[in-house]
């Protein structure tokens, strides 16, 4: 068969396989979150279901599916139903442009070229920033449509926080864009060819740290999880969601976490590249998986150690500390690149 048909078949396979893999990963990540929460606190986590408790997520899913679907009477029903989807569908869109292996090059699968990316998009970075902003809609609409005081406060807080930290995030990735001379993820990863000292986290260390902190705020994770602060507002914008709808929010949070870990490793840590060239024989997707797992572990570790900021302190960090630092980072990067050439 000819090349375009082969590419079409590969595209369909990739488009189906990737979301399925991510969903399976999320199920196990939820289990690992609880298990590691236990370990960090000096206790064992879930142990009952399955070996080492690993089927806990599936037990949770069955339990959530069997619950009654409660929608408050005065809530805005279509918006209420739609809100969770607005959070994780953009994440899947971003996964479509992320490379998880070598792209281009010769035929490597049955004589046809198999690109390890669903869509090699030129402006992938901008796409990431743009669709990341759509998640804010999901959170704010969830809070607003529940028609309850707590939820409204939580939703607005979360929305404001996510919008502020997106700016810092945007400016810090422009540094990477300057270094790679392109906005496409594929080019950014190719620009980090070599060993781990060629990766961008060394020259862009300030940008990397700022990006990491900004993503903590985007994901609504501690120390920036004021939107769902249990002790203060019961559960913020999630209060009125019960059963599987709440499960969808949880799912959305973890899908976002996987995608952002993938992006972080792509932008700063070499993506699918091996740290040392001698280890090249291990395929790209495995390296990406290892890096994603490492970042998710780091997110969990931070969540279970640090407590949260007060709201105004959170906003002041976003605007008064992270944004100026990221602009400074951008300026310094631009100057250095102009000089060095």
């Amino acid at each position: 068969m000819s090349d375009p048909i082969a590419q079409l078949i590969f595209l369909i396979i990739k488009a189906i396989l990737l979301p399925v893999i991510i969903v399976m990963m999320v199920a196990f990540i939820i289990f690992f979150e609880r298990k590691f929460a236990g370990f960090f606190q000096g206790r064992v986590g879930p142990t009952y279901l399955g070996p080492w408790g690993s089927f806990q997520s599936f037990g949770d899913i069955f339990k959530l599916l069997s619950k009654e679907d409660l929608i408050p009477d005065k809530a805005d029903k279509p918006v209420f139903r739609m809100a969770p989807y607005l959070i994780f569908i953009p994440a899947f869109l971003v996964m479509a442009v992320l490379p998880f292996g070598p792209v281009g090059g010769e035929a490597n699968l049955f004589g046809y070229r198999f690109d390890y990316v669903i869509a090699n998009f030129d402006a992938a970075l901008v796409l990431f920033l743009a669709v990341g902003a759509i998640s804010v809609y999901g959170v704010v609409l969830a809070g607003w449509s529940s028609n309850s005081n707590f939820s409204l406060i939580g939703g607005l807080r979360a929305g404001a926080q996510m919008v502020s930290y997106e700016l810092a995030m945007g400016f810090s990735v422009v540094g990477v864009m300057l270094m790679a001379n392109s906005m496409s993820f594929v080019d950014i990863v190719n620009g980090q060819a070599g060993n781990f000292w060629n990766w961008y986290f060394i020259p862009q260390v300030v940008g990397g740290v700022i990006f990491f902190i900004a993503t903590l705020a985007e994901l609504n994770r501690t120390p920036f999880d004021l939107a769902e602060a249990e002790q203060e507002l019961v559960a913020g914008y999630l209060t009125e969601y019960s059963g599987m709808r709440w499960g969808l929010f949880l799912f959305a949070e973890y899908v976002n976490m996987v995608v952002i870990s993938a992006i972080m490793s792509t932008l700063y840590f070499g993506g699918w590249r091996a740290p040392l060239e001698v280890l090249d024989f291990i395929p790209g997707p495995i390296w990406l998986f290892i890096k994603i797992a490492a970042f998710i572990f780091l997110y969990m570790w931070i969540r279970w150690t640090i407590f949260r900021y007060r709201y105004n302190q959170l906003m002041s960090i976003g605007w008064k500390v992270l944004l100026p630092l990221s602009i400074l980072n951008l300026a310094v990067t631009a100057v250095v690149i102009a000089i060095v050439g």
């Binding site: 000096g42 005081n149 406060i153 501690t222 002790q231 507002l233 279970w304 640090i306 407590f307 302190q313």
Partner: protein
């Protein structure tokens, strides 16, 4: 190789411990005056705009903030609290009325349930009051055992306070860590008294039983390693930038406010007033042991944390001294008309059996009169007022518990603060509803 590692450790550990130097800087800082504290408080408050839209939110009796069924109805303007209307009484069990129908011996298990986290401290305070009324002297060994048990309860209370406070600020990890450490204390209390939380161990004239075999060894091991745990907590919290931001200059209760609202205990000591009933009005064996009163001067949440950490260390010192100097002798006074007899006596001696019957059916011989006695419970000053008509049952008992006053003091002092701060302040003031509602 081992030497090399030892040397590296000796060089690196002090660096890590001193990773933030500010201890010396803090100790040399000038102590703030009352006016300065009031100015800081005014600065941290937000201006209340008149006429903006106010949402009423009920931090209702059920909330995951773990203080029991305290209801606070907040009027919020965005994040700022415009008004707070507290509502207590959801846990009111009529303890004082129950006590009127029971003899003085039967009241002891009821006092356990007042501040259920530090049960023995409540028993102790009550027994001190009754003994003052009856003019009954407790033998030395009994006083030392009571001191040890009271200090164990203080350890248990402060460790639990730390866990709950940090959990309110955001992370559950601390809660689990603190409960794990509290297990050691509760284990000791179970070995000593027979129960982990509802001790009922004090009796009129002393304690119920002597120290069991092996208790001293276990206790020494526990108090040797608990201060190290405290150092670990401090390593996470004391210099944490987030804790600085959330606890420094937040919730300032000046000494004037404390006097106005009868706030006692660690909150008062964090405001610079060195009032500790264990030193000012000693009872049990407190005048025979050597310890320091923990005082700080900034009156904010951070200082209350420091005061409690210091109190944990001092409690360990007190327990160690009591174990070292434990006198021999009886652990309970033997008084025919006023105390319960020992079980071994009852089974051998008919006079003791008659005493047993008399004490159970008629109660102790308490003279007519009234008494007030306050002791230093872990949360503050707990006072017991008893009015007796000469019978074996009190005519009126009144427990003035610290949490009631602390819960009452909260609303006027958080108007103008933010919601997150209110949660932190409420946690630092240490309110337990069993204590508050009786």
């Amino acid at each position: 190789m081992k030497d090399l590692l030892q040397n590296v450790r000796q060089v690196v550990m002090p660096l890590l411990a001193d990773a933030h130097g500010p201890d010396e800087a803090r100790e040399e800082a000038p102590r703030p005056t009352l006016e300065e504290l009031k100015a800081r408080k005014a600065r941290s408050r937000q201006p209340l705009e008149v006429g903006s839209e106010v949402i009423t939110v009920s931090m209702g009796p059920q909330h995951p903030s773990m203080h029991g069924v305290y209801r606070a109805e907040l009027d919020l303007d965005g994040e700022i609290i415009v008004d707070v209307r507290p509502e207590v009484g959801n846990l009111h069990r009529g303890v004082e009325k129950l006590c009127e129908e029971r003899t003085y011996h039967q009241i002891i298990p009821i006092t356990d349930r007042l501040d259920y986290i530090a049960g023995f401290a409540m028993n102790h305070g009550y027994c001190e009051a009754v003994e003052k009324l009856m003019d009954l002297e407790v033998p030395a060994r009994g006083r030392y055992i009571r001191t040890i048990a009271s200090e164990l309860c203080r350890l248990s209370n402060h460790i639990l306070w730390l866990g709950v406070h940090i959990m309110d600020l955001g992370t559950q990890t601390f809660f689990c860590i603190c409960f794990r450490d509290r297990e050691y204390v509760l284990d000791l209390l179970e070995m000593l008294t027979g129960a982990r939380l509802t001790h009922s161990f004090a009796r009129l004239g002393g304690v119920a039983k002597d120290l069991p075999d092996g208790f001293e060894h276990r206790c020494r091991k526990a108090i040797e390693f608990l201060p190290k745990r405290v150092a670990e907590y401090e390593r996470i919290i004391k210099h944490n930038r987030i804790y600085y931001k959330r606890a420094k200059n937040v919730g300032i209760f000046t000494s004037e406010d404390c006097f106005a609202w009868r706030v006692t205990g660690p909150a008062l000591r964090a405001a610079g007033v060195p009032r500790d009933l264990r030193k000012d009005d000693p009872y049990a064996a407190y005048d025979e042991v050597d310890f320091e009163v923990a005082v700080e001067y900034n009156a904010d949440v951070y200082d209350r944390f420091l005061v409690r950490m210091k109190e944990i260390r001092e409690s360990c010192k007190i327990i160690e001294q009591c174990l070292d100097n434990m006198p021999a002798g009886p652990f309970v006074a033997r008084d025919i008309t006023r105390t319960l007899p020992l079980k071994s006596d009852v089974m051998r001696d008919s006079a003791s059996m008659i005493q047993d019957f008399y004490q159970v059916f008629k109660g102790p011989a308490v003279p007519k009169g009234e008494v007030y006695r306050a002791t230093e419970a872990p949360k503050g000053e707990m006072g017991v007022y008893i009015r007796s008509e000469g019978a074996g049952r009190p005519a009126r008992i009144r427990f003035t518990t610290p949490s009631f006053y602390h819960g009452q003091a909260l609303p006027p002092l958080v108007r103008g603060e933010m919601v997150s701060d209110m949660v932190a302040i409420f946690a630092s003031i240490d309110v337990v509803l069993g204590d508050c509602d009786r």
